[in-house]
Symmetry: C2
Subunit: 317 residues, 2 copies
């Protein structure tokens, strides 16, 4: 398996990327290769400070960089030799099995949709995040910002995608799917939730348990929490804010530590033809190490192919 990582992505590239990738050497399976994509001389300069195996880490030169504030669509085509553009090309050609970056999120979505393509039958791809359950394990929260405005049929597809992600990535059996809402009764909520609820109830592909509320986010009532991307993004960032506050206060608590986004490393783009992961611009070495681990785990889960097969069966979504 070849795990592609954008060496130039994020506020701390390439130094933290390289540090994390070196650490990841011991965490990948025998025969796996990490391909770093970016400015080769610069990457080598950073790699030289570490002990690493040439069998496990190689470099593909990409002299351009899509900056964090570049306009995504324009930059993607205007900078064909950028690390992100090269990464997607290699993924498309099968020279990578998975590609991940902490760089320009918009450009990563452009590449996901236009180079790799949305799985046939889906209206929109989505991004998901892992939310720690109070006692152990994680729930899947989606969408977390890719789709700020959505219609009920898209929400219904999110539920389907999140359920498969929970099943095949997190290995949660028969995951319970909840609709994030502001009341527990069936007809509660905003117009979007009121219209989505009956679709989820009729969806035979998921184990829908009804509405969940803000106070259910950590209690494990649902394994998959479905919402629009505006709401999910705010929930996710509030969770991170809480972590930041508590980390600054040196709270020594395993639950707090599990809120740290660096544990996950990256968020998958779900609903496209190949495994792609997006990470926080502020990622550091620990996050990059886990980005590698989760990239390999996502690719080995076969999630993309499973979604494709399910949708090919004409399940009415």
């Amino acid at each position: 398996m070849v795990i592609g990582i954008d060496a130039m992505g994020g506020d701390n590239a390439p130094s933290e990327v390289v540090e994390g990738i070196v650490e990841a050497q011991t965490a990948i399976q025998e025969g796996d290769i990490i391909t770093l994509i970016g400015n080769e001389p610069l990457i080598r300069e950073h790699l030289d400070g570490y002990t690493y195996s040439e069998d496990k880490i190689n470099i593909v030169h990409a002299p351009e960089v899509i900056a964090m504030d570049d306009q995504p669509t324009r930059a993607f085509s205007a900078k064909p030799r950028s690390s992100i553009s090269v990464g997607f090309r290699l993924l498309k050609e099968g020279k990578l099995d998975t590609f991940a970056s902490a760089g320009n999120t918009g450009a990563m979505l452009v590449g996901s949709v236009y180079e790799i393509g949305v799985i046939k039958g889906l209206i929109r791809p989505t991004t998901a995040a892992l939310v720690p359950k109070e006692n152990s394990g994680y729930s899947v929260l989606l969408d977390v910002g890719t789709n700020p405005d959505v219609k009920p049929d898209v929400m219904n597809q999110f539920a389907f995608l999140g359920s498969l992600f929970a099943e095949f990535f997190l290995r949660t059996q028969n995951p319970k799917v909840g609709l994030l809402n502001i009341g527990s009764e069936d007809k509660k909520g905003n117009i979007l939730c009121q219209s989505t609820f009956p679709l989820l109830k009729q969806n035979d592909e998921i184990n829908f348990i009804g509405n969940v509320e803000g106070h259910d986010i950590f209690n494990g009532k649902a394994d998959v929490i479905v919402c629009d991307g505006y709401t999910g993004n705010i929930v996710l960032k509030q969770l991170e804010a809480f972590y930041e506050v508590m980390a600054k206060r040196q709270a020594d608590d395993p639950f707090i530590e599990r809120l740290n986004f660096e544990n996950h490393g990256a968020t998958p783009v779900i609903g496209i033809n190949k495994p792609v992961l997006i990470a926080h611009g502020i990622s550091k070495a620990k996050a990059f190490k886990n980005m590698v681990v989760n990239s390999a785990h996502l690719a080995r889960s076969g999630l993309n192919e499973i979604i494709r097969q399910k949708l090919a069966e004409n399940i009415g979504l």
Copy 2:
């Protein structure tokens, strides 16, 4: 000042209400009176266990109760002798200066709108919550659930109302108003935020600082955080979920303790003609004590009259 409290409201009424009200005796100003509204024999039975001053606590008999699951509009008129209906009538007649309950929220809103009335010029009343800033003080978050679907002009009024609430209730000078969004740039967000942003920018009544994100919820970037009621409710309940998780883990941290909703006791209904506060159904004695304190503080702040005066000046909102 006469502070009206629904003795029958909430899951723990009347025992916890009575306990909290007895504790509140020492926290109110000289001459203030707490009027408990509800089943008088039952209230007396609970009061008998405590030492209290008849000058500070009196009772108005209301033999009926609007249950938590009663249909609000129907219950309000079908149970004219319920504690909530009687409370609103007394408030309207000027026999109370303020009225608060932990009972049926819908019925409290029905009373607020139909008995007390929305201030002329406002499209919708709103409910706000206090969110602790990391270091000290509180931000105002609104709407927190009363208006799950709103239009930009309503959001603009929320900003105005929240700003006045921060200024006159929290005594925050020139409060910074932020729009809760999923990016910091002006044009980011969902359609509602994109359409609301220019209205807030043009609103001369507020000190608009632009977008704030989920990770800004505790950092004090904004003193007033404006969002639709669906989002605000989820943010508020997620915050309460953090508190619950950490309290269970016996976290000993002042920031965590400041997340405890019981410190505030109740949430004001902003934009109606008289002071009304709504509390959690699960409120206990501490929350009821603070409900009394904050009812008096809200009434003394003159907020309702200030909003009325401002809107009478034809400020173009």
